[in-house]
């Protein structure tokens, strides 16, 4: 019985770990802005189109499950809530949602453009990008 409990506990912990992989928000290394969680949220929800220093900010999202993770942890919205949120902005011409790209493209684009901001699974962070925050 005790073993079973430990096993169940182990399962729970490992499951929790899988479900809560860490997400790193990444920018170009020359981007000197220090970004709060509120700044990041505002940029990814289309409320702000600039970094705190005034330079333009272009957000990118991933085309894999990391995006759901990011949406829940940072934006506090499920995918259908977010879809509904964006359809309000899109069909009133206020803003378009960030473009989804693959993890490899994400790293390439962030490395090449100081105006871009994205995120990636923390285990995939590579040289040439700087981490603005981990969530």
């Amino acid at each position: 019985m005790k073993n079973l409990l430990i096993f169940a506990l182990f399962l729970t912990i490992s499951f929790t770990c899988v479900a809560q992989a860490e997400v790193s928000v990444i920018t170009h290394p020359s981007n000197g802005n220090s970004l709060s969680k509120a700044d990041i949220t505002a940029i990814f929800l289309g409320k702000k189109k600039t970094f705190p220093d005034g330079s333009s900010a272009v957000a990118l999202v991933l085309n894999d499950a990391t995006t759901d993770e990011f949406n829940t942890k940072l934006l506090g919205k499920s995918s259908s809530q977010l879809k509904s949120y964006w359809s309000k902005l899109v069909f009133t011409g206020k803003a378009n949602p960030p473009k989804p790209v693959s993890p490899a493209t994400m790293l390439e684009l962030i490395k090449g453009n100081p105006n871009m901001i994205g995120f990636i699974d923390s285990s995939s962070v590579s040289d040439g990008v700087s981490v603005a925050g981990q969530f």
């Binding site: 259908s80 069909f91 378009n96």
Partner: protein, 381 residues
């Protein structure tokens, strides 16, 4: 202003200026069907005169589809054109939005072209069913028959502490003369202006106020006939003046509230349409809706609606038969309704909805009841 709309359309559609311009095409639609469960007809919206439900199932009354073209010309300048086609208008295309927008910064935006007047809480995206908890906003309170303006608007937004403020001001011309040809609709040309102000506290409580005013020129055979009849029978001058078709001053104001709790959202609007020295009734209409998220996919709602329309400047004309007719057409009326419905997330971009609505009205001592069942598929792409 027509030129601006044309220019906006050209910019959005032309592939010749594609250099750094970023294009996007997105769409939405709502396939809505319904019928009344009694012998009465139900008109879901004053705006779409031809759209109505009766005892046989109809998909034409409210179904509509839209496509939007957007061109980001620079990071500040963009053009946006939306085309909608509705069953209620025999699928004839309309342009609810066709404008050029300029974002001065994150706080101030300017738009010029074909825009929507910010009359209601859901003015901007009332056609995008997918973005709404209901099949349509409670349209008893969406009583202005027209809201497409050709003009300019400025939106400012700023935050202070826990408060987020949004101010929108507009001025423009409304030309609805094409509706002259629609069944039972009347043509109007309006020069108008208005503003709205909304403040949100801590992302959960929002209060919004709007005021709009305009001079309306009417093209209505009915009004013209009443006007000439009053002159012919020698009615008091004031009554004759109250049936003029030119520069009729009207105002629309609205107060809205939205409170978002953990799973529960409460939305209420109270809107008022008033006429200065005219026989048109004053309309005071509102609703309150409670929307509850049972699971991530299922959100039922309950809505209560009330219309309290009082008579305008109707005075005795000296002819009792005519007075009775005017009171029937322009007098006070009361309508109450309730609706129960829900939204189900079928896929990440498709929602299913169903609603039962029961409405009873009392106009000129004639009671009228209609019960309507509607189902909808809303999607975005």
């Amino acid at each position: 202003m027509k030129k601006t709309i044309f220019a906006a359309g050209l910019l959005a559609a032309s592939p010749l200026i594609a250099h750094a311009t970023d294009y996007s095409v997105k769409g939405f639609g709502s396939l809505i069907g319904g019928l009344t469960t009694d012998q009465n007809e139900f008109r879901p919206h004053v705006k779409y005169g031809g759209g109505k439900y009766d005892e046989s199932f109809s998909l034409d009354a409210e179904s509509h589809f839209g496509v939007q073209f957007r061109a980001d010309i620079t990071d500040k300048l963009y053009a946006n054109v939306q085309v909608i086609t509705r069953g209620a208008y025999n699928w004839r295309p309309e342009l609810p939005w066709a404008y050029i927008g300029y974002n001065f910064n994150d706080n101030i935006q300017l738009k010029a072209g074909r825009l929507k007047a910010p009359f209601y809480l859901y003015s901007d995206y009332q056609d995008v069913g997918y973005a709404l908890p209901w099949i349509s906003p409670p349209r008893n309170a969406y009583m202005v028959p027209i809201d497409a303006i050709d003009g300019v608007n400025v939106i400012g937004n700023f935050s202070r502490g826990q408060f987020e403020h949004v101010i929108e001001a507009w001025v423009g011309h409304i030309d609805d003369t094409q509706n002259k040809y629609e069944a039972q609709a009347l043509g109007t040309e309006i020069d108008a202006f208005g503003f709205s102000y909304a403040t949100t506290y801590n992302d959960w409580l929002m209060v919004r106020y709007t005021y709009n005013e305009g001079d309306v020129d009417l093209y209505s055979d009915d009004i013209d006939t009443i006007h000439s009849t009053l002159i012919a029978i020698g009615a008091p001058n004031e009554m004759i003046a109250n049936t003029t078709s030119e520069e009729v001053r009207g105002s629309f104001s609205g107060l809205a509230l939205k409170a978002e709790f953990d799973k529960l959202t409460i939305i209420a609007e109270l809107n008022q349409l008033e006429w200065h020295t005219n026989i048109f009734p004053h309309q005071k209409r509102g609703y309150i809706s409670a929307i509850y998220q049972v699971t991530e996919k299922f959100t039922p709602y309950l809505t209560l609606m009330k219309n309290n329309d009082s008579a305008g400047d109707l005075q005795p004309s000296g002819n009792p038969a005519l007075d009775a007719e005017l009171a029937a057409g322009f007098g006070a009326s009361d309508t109450t309704a309730w609706a129960i419905g829900g939204r189900y997330e079928l896929m990440p971009n498709v929602a299913l909805k169903a609603e039962y609505q029961s409405q009873s009205s009392d106009a000129y001592h004639i009671e009228d009841v209609s019960d309507t069942v509607r189902v909808a598929v809303d999607f975005v792409f």
